[in-house]
């Protein structure tokens, strides 16, 4: 039986934070008010002593825990492979950075760390002794266009199984189960004057699994007339792609469930009836509820459409709690 807790990644409140409408304490307080039982922190966004965690920051986080009752549960790391001007980081350098992140995650009290796919499966395997020693489970984020059944993710599965470490795994992002076009991108194209029929035509090409170059060829005259559609096409085939059904992907999720340390409850737009318009939560949540998953579903509101971040994040947490309750 699953033991699922709901949290939020503070990234969801990035817009008010960056604009100075909420400071970090305000962000944490708001997360607690939404019913989050814990939070993820994007280290490069909100930790003032990044990539390290200062004693001062630890006491700040502890004070917030006393006041608001919630603490960080996941340290979201970035793998900045391209940080040097003239070349990519080597695997040794990436492993070194990831070890620094593990140390920081531990100091912050996080037992989960989100890592990004630019760290290769071999690089991930090298983290096992550090992850175990520091009690930080390192999960590679599975982000659209990857999914639990794409080859690059299966390559990680192989390595994780070879190491036998319980500290290496995944953080799936529900965006990879999308079955409808992404609303903010769609609305942006409409606002820029693209006719809805052309968007529907493009979406149908995506549904029919027409390869991207072929779809671009078919859409070329339309895209030349409405250049905004170039971006729409690359998004439909990129980070916000979608397909008719996510059944195979959900079967894949079941297989890797023992390796999942946290889930990113991605949302772009949750309507007033608590329905995410592109990602079929009504199908996803029952799969998790019926599994042995023990961990957080962390709301990750991606502010692409200019919707109110607090309202969207609140709705999403409510939606997840409601669907979990219905699945029990």
């Amino acid at each position: 039986m699953a033991n699922v807790k709901t949290g939020i990644t503070l990234f969801s409140l990035g817009t008010p934070y960056l604009k100075g409408e909420l400071d970090l304490e305000g962000v944490i307080r708001t997360a607690a008010e939404m019913g989050a039982e814990g939070y993820e922190i994007v280290a490069a966004q909100m930790i003032p002593s990044y990539p390290y965690v200062s004693d001062e920051f630890v006491s700040f986080v502890n004070k917030c825990k006393e006041k608001y009752g919630i603490s960080p549960i996941c340290y979201a790391a970035n793998m900045d492979r391209g940080m040097l001007r003239d070349r990519d980081l080597t695997e040794d350098e990436m492993v070194a950075r990831a070890i620094t992140d593990i140390v920081s995650a531990n100091k912050l009290g996080c037992t989960v760390m989100r890592e990004q796919y630019l760290l290769s499966p071999q690089g991930l395997a090298r983290l096992a002794p550090y992850a175990e020693a520091y009690n930080v489970r390192v999960g590679i984020e599975i982000h659209n266009p990857e999914s639990p059944i794409t080859q690059s993710i299966l390559d990680y599965v192989k390595v994780i199984e070879e190491t036998g470490s319980k500290y290496l795994g995944f953080v799936p992002d529900f965006g990879c189960f999308a079955t409808k076009p992404n609303k903010p991108y769609w609305d942006r194209a409409l606002a820029a004057g693209a006719p809805v029929e052309l968007l529907e035509k493009m979406a149908q090409l995506r549904y029919d699994e027409v390869p991207q170059d072929k779809a671009a060829e078919i859409m070329m005259p339309d895209m030349q007339k409405y250049p905004v559609l170039f971006g729409t096409l690359s998004s439909m085939y990129g980070f916000v792609q979608f397909r008719k059904s996510c059944k195979d992907e959900l079967e894949g999720l079941k297989k890797i469930m023992p390796y999942c340390f946290e889930m990113h409850g991605k949302c772009h737009y949750v309507d007033e009836n608590l329905h995410e318009v592109s990602i079929p939560y009504e199908e996803i949540i029952p799969v998790i509820a019926a599994s042995d998953y023990d961990g957080f579903i962390v709301t990750e509101f991606e502010d692409e459409g200019g919707y109110n971040a607090v309202e969207q994040t609140t709705r999403h947490v409510k939606m997840v709690k409601k669907l979990l309750a219905e699945s029990r």
Partner: protein, 143 residues
């Protein structure tokens, strides 16, 4: 210009930040603050292009100091600054050597700042998503 990502939360050039600065009691130049136009901070080594134009005149690079973390860097050093992290909510101060300072009144500041998003490859051979963090604002100079 080629495609670049833009993620805008706040103005790059910070309002009310332009002022002359003094050394040995004399105006040695002027300074203003800028914010990174992104959702997270970055190491300075991701900056590919940086430049400042004031009232239509491009400032020679060697006159510029970019100040964060209590330190000052020249744009020519950015590629070596791979341990200097620019926090996304902390303004950087751009200080320009300009003896005598800027005359009273308003001045148009244009900042060119392009960087790579170092975790978003867009192709092989060290190609990463270019991000546009340029900004312009007309500010009155304070003494």
């Amino acid at each position: 210009m080629a495609f670049a990502m833009r993620m805008n939360f706040v103005d790059v050039v910070v309002s009310d930040s332009l002022k002359n600065y003094y050394v040995d009691g004399k105006k040695m130049g002027y300074q203003f603050d800028i914010r990174l136009s992104y959702y997270r901070g970055h190491f300075l080594s991701v900056i590919d292009e940086f430049g400042v134009t004031v009232d239509g005149f491009e400032v020679p690079m060697e006159r510029i100091k970019f100040c964060i973390n209590g330190k000052e860097f020249s744009p020519a050093e950015f590629d070596k600054c791979y341990t200097e992290f620019w926090q996304v909510i902390e303004p950087a101060t751009v200080r320009v050597f300009y003896p005598g300072g800027l005359p009273e009144g308003e001045h148009k500041i244009d900042v060119k700042l392009m960087f790579r998003s170092p975790y978003m490859p867009i192709g092989p051979d060290h190609q990463y998503m270019p991000v546009d963090s340029c900004g312009s604002k007309t500010l009155a100079v304070a003494d």
